[in-house]
Amino acid sequence: MADPIQQPDVDSHSKTAIWNDPTFRSITFQVLAVVVLGWFFYTIFSNTLHNMESRGITTGFAFLDNTSGFGILMSLIEYDETHTYGDTFIVGLLNTLLVSVVGIITATIIGFVMGVARLSKNWLIAKIATVYVESLRNIPLLLQIFFWYALMRTLPPPRGSIQLIQDAVLLNGRGLYMPAPVPADGFGFVNIALLVAVIASIVLVKWTKKRQEATGQLFPAYWTSLGMIVGLPLGVFLIAGMPMSLDYPVLKGFNFVGGMRIIPEFMALWWALSLYTATFIAEIVRAGILAVSHGQTEAAHALGIPNGPTLRLVVIPQAMRVIIPPLTSQYLNLAKNSSLATAIGYPDLVGVFMGTTLNQTGQAVEIVAMTMMVYLVMSLSISALMNWFNKRMAMVER
């Protein structure tokens, strides 16, 4: 036991030795736990690699620089078979991110609409929403993916395309084709106009808030911003003489070339993920709204606040607090479920990297580890983002 007198700089109330100090102890144990855990995983990993090496299985990450030698159906970056295995990782990763982000956006929209619809006083709307939620929520996602993909398979071959808009928007078994915008000289002004509009909107919203706090006067800042963001670039675009051309898809040989294309694998996966996850979001939204007691609405009305602002300023902010945490797990689910892509051949990370690349190189441990890291980082990022959003939405006590 240390004598406190010999430690004059220590506060008089800390009479205990340093290893009995709770803060010190907890920090030490935490550091120790992390070190042991790190050592544990390091040992497993290096042991595995060593054992594989001694059995003649190639290990290490050098393969990422080798030429892949295989094609991929869809890529957001430039890619062909002369690129490397490292590039196949990026291609797969971006395809996973694309379907996850687009899926999260549509699932949120459908989910909120359906959640509110279930509470509607209109019997028909409420029933439709209920049937949607109760049926799709209870059918396994994989089956839904297969269902949408089977539907895509009934589409005609390229030569018999369905003309949604004559010669411009076409649908066939190879996907949905649309004209692609090709910016010409002078399109830069449109971009500048867009930037100006966005900055102006931010300033406007801030100013409106300040003025409202000071004087109580309201100003429709959001609608004005929307008008600016759409109107300003559009105006500049027209004045500049429409500096853009359209690249139309044309039938050449076997397939349509040019234009933009959404492949059927993407559509099937996207719809299945969105419609399935939206059912859960709808239930979360419904629960969130029901959690705000009716007294709140009555109180707002008693203060003379009209219906719209009551919903916007009183009910929704309180409901959001209940909605956000479970919503986060739905987003996480959607991102992870996107790996079912392989079942229908959508080239996501699992299909391209953990599938073809793993098989061509045989480097299972490295590739599975990299893929797991991606899903981990992706999930943690979604969580962090939603936590931040949740903090902003949380009750501010004044």
Partner: protein, 337 residues
């Protein structure tokens, strides 16, 4: 998902032991059955009927090894595997050998910790095309969409062929052979590509087989053969020499029907093969009548070929490259002496 389980299984197994796989022969003898990885369903190579019986030239290779090692060709447990699962299953020790129309390539032989024990079928990659497109040659395929199976050499050959001929393609990659065929039938793609031997089988499974034609081009070399783990030379030798025994038997005219009487034939080569002279079996660590069991129970190479893929079967494939070396083919086995 089953795939990831095999992958993790492999990782876990690799972590536990380095040299646990040395004695495959001892394991198989102790267990009394051979675990053999085969295709999930490929007519002529590996197909299970509705009674659960497996048939095919790859399946017969497994049976031959069981006959050589255990004296009984029926003592096999067949493990159906997709293209993507097959190597992990072998590396992890889930199966004792792999006989699943697997192409012998440099990468697979040198970097997966595996060894190819020979070639039981010389194949090459070809194309199946929608007849309505009126295509006569693979050189006319610029811009086509191609249905293909994941984790195969086919994916790589296809890319090479189109690159070499300055053509573009878009690959639609599926996990199983059935999905690939369905994609092709639904016109998701213009062509389907795979090993030539399989194109006819795939076409025969189509709702309307006459709507597709096989193009004349063969764009690659696909030597298909059984695979074992590297580092277990005794087992490697057994699988290799079982194949050679079948080829030698065909060359010497020993068949399943006459194997018994051939045991007393005058030719010392036949005697050494059937174990009435010499110690070929002992040198492999198995019984003296190992090759007799193989030939009498499974047949010689020619019998195995004709029964599964030959001209009298629905696949109707001629011997071609798979004829014996003295008959214009490539099947050649070193002598047993």
């Amino acid at each position: 998902m089953k795939k990831s389980i095999t992958v993790f299984g492999a990782m876990a197994a690799t972590m536990i032991a380095t040299s646990a796989f040395a004695g495959t022969l001892e394991d198989v003898t102790a267990r009394g059955t051979l675990s053999c990885g085969v295709n999930t369903g490929l007519p002529g190579f590996s197909l299970q009927d509705d009674k659960g019986n497996w048939t095919g030239i790859d399946v017969d290779v497994c049976r031959a090894v069981a006959a050589a090692v255990l004296g009984d060709a029926t003592k096999v447990r067949f493990v159906p595997l997709t293209a993507k699962e097959r190597f992990t299953a072998l590396q992890s020790g889930e199966i004792d050998m792999l006989s699943r129309n697997t192409t012998w390539t440099h990468t697979r032989d040198t970097s997966l910790g595996l060894n190819f024990a020979g070639v039981n079928y010389y194949d090459g990659q070809g194309f199946l095309v929608q007849k309505a497109l009126g295509v006569k040659s693979a050189k006319e395929l610029d811009g086509a969409s191609v249905c293909i199976q994941a984790g195969t050499t086919t994916e790589l050959n296809l890319a090479d062929y189109f690159r070499l001929n300055g053509m573009k393609y878009s690959a639609v990659v599926y996990d199983t052979s059935d999905q690939t065929r369905e994609g092709f039938e639904a016109a998701r793609c213009d062509i389907l590509t795979s090993d030539q031997s399989q194109l006819y089988a795939i076409r025969s499974k189509m709702a309307d087989p006459t709507s597709a034609v096989v193009l004349p081009e063969v764009i690659s070399k696909e030597p298909l053969g059984p695979v074992v783990r590297q580092g277990d030379d005794a087992w490697f030798n057994i699988v290799k020499w079982t194949l050679y025994a079948q080829v030698n038997a065909e060359e010497m005219g020993v068949t399943s029907a006459n194997a018994m009487e051939m045991k007393t034939a005058a030719d010392p080569n036949v005697k050494r093969l059937l174990g009435t002279e010499g110690d070929a079996g002992a040198k492999l660590g198995i019984s003296a009548d190992w090759a007799y069991n193989v030939v009498s129970q499974v047949g010689n190479y020619g019998e195995m070929f004709e029964r599964n893929v030959g001209l009298k079967t629905p696949l109707a494939i001629a011997r071609g490259l798979n004829a014996l070396w003295n008959n214009g083919g490539l099947q050649y086995a070193p002598p047993i002496r």
